[in-house]
Symmetry: D2
Subunit: 162 residues, 4 copies
């Protein structure tokens, strides 16, 4: 159960969405547990480790109200990872959950949402509680047992605790 002083998860800033009929916002997801997964399609650690883990998470927690949200946070090789390449990537890797493109910033190679969360790189993950607070944020990939435990604990928090 999130403590009152946990930081609130900043809102997403997204320029395009895939795999969702309409844009997602964390505000609208309030009341549910959200796993935000920041990746880049040319990031070897994302492709080999975090994306397969997120797909396992979706399968194992399919019967819960966990919402997985992918975020394509391009901070390098911008031309190489355009939306047309992302769309083909999502198709080839059979990624069916919602993915947003992190909003580019004209003043910086770091996109907007990535800066709001101060991600150190990709892959990064944020577990957001029912009340919108950040329960856990990590750079890299943690082991499945710990991740499963953390998500289950977040899910067990009463909806009324938000």
């Amino acid at each position: 159960m999130p403590m009152p002083d946990l930081p609130y998860a900043p809102e997403l800033s997204v320029s395009a969405w895939y795999n969702t009929p309409e844009p997602l916002t964390l505000e609208a997801l309030r009341g549910r547990v959200v796993l935000l997964h920041a990746f880049q399609l040319l990031c070897p650690g994302c492709v080999a480790q975090s994306i397969p883990q997120v797909q396992r998470i979706e399968r194992v927690f399919a019967n819960t109200d966990l919402q997985v949200v992918g975020l394509h946070t391009v901070f390098e090789h911008h031309e190489a990872m355009s939306p047309v390449t992302l769309e083909a990537f999502l198709h080839e890797y059979r990624i069916g959950s919602p993915v947003g493109v992190d909003m580019a910033d004209e003043q910086s190679p770091i996109p907007i949402t990535m800066r709001r969360y101060a991600f150190r790189g990709t892959p990064s993950s944020v577990l957001i509680g029912r009340d919108g607070s950040i329960l856990h944020q990590t750079f890299g990939v943690e082991e499945d047992l710990a991740v499963g435990a953390r998500i289950a604990t977040a899910l067990s928090a009463a909806r009324t605790s938000q």
Copy 2:
């Protein structure tokens, strides 16, 4: 939180203990979550999969009151898996948590505790709640995410719920 009608975990019947100063009983462990892991030292699936998973579980949940209990349930090749071989096995595989030898039954190749739980073979695992009820029992190995989630949920049950 265990439902009132969950079956209670039958007591262990053990002829020898390793890695513990004194014998363990489920009765004495009441109030804690217990992971009972039944294995045989010549079982390939145990050596390759369930024992490494149990060792990961011990590491990830080291700061909780989870108690892992190994049970050497020999139901075949009895002469091949004697206590002297088990002791060397525990040493070579660096298994430091308590392991009991399931009590042999003179009338059957199936040892006593194995029969009480109706294990279908090895590896088998039983997750026992704080109140002594069987929360989950499985033959084989389940994936880490699901196992981590299940243990975390069991641990989150209030101690007073027993």
Copy 3:
């Protein structure tokens, strides 16, 4: 040692080269053993399996005259796998051996070299003997032991046998 009636490896048709100061041709490589590796950067089996295997091959056979040649054979999602994306991909995956872009065909989504070899998809590999004959061609990934044995056998063929 290649039999006289083995098919000769057709020449490469490449629109751009990476990781080589000048274009490669099989003709100029005659006398050496060549491993031709056809891949696409958005092909999951290439990224997870064949590219790591090719990198292991380069390491294990570093002291031989084996020449590894990558071929980016884009036959789908053409816009998604443009040269700018390939270049970033080679950088991120630390691919340092020569890679050619298979020449696009205006009449077909299948590029020229891919058609010459009748590749069934990606990843595909061709082992070419010192005399320019095709010793082995495969779609998918074969196990390391067999691949290592096949390359060693090709390398052991006398240079004068060409």
Copy 4:
């Protein structure tokens, strides 16, 4: 092709054989390539790595005249790894190729053949050429590509070169 000054492989000293109708000797195997694999049934590295690799080798080189010979070289926990345990182990791990028990030495915990080869521990492997010379000896497990290449090169040596 073995050089004239390569050391000859010392003969095996074995107290019991499994999976062979009659005892094997290196002398009788002269003319064939032999892979000698020294292991202990309670050796984690053997069970997890070298035994599976030897089983892959047997499968990949099934159509050659390679002879795999297992050697149970017990140098510690002697009581724990008696023949009755070895026999059950071979059954459970589906090891079907010949395995000899290295002859115990009354004066030392190190068995006879292990001492002759100066093995540093288990797993150890020796690749023996058609002429009986030691082509390669290693402690631990090497990668499949290199192992496959080495065996193929040994097999390609003419039988008449012995």
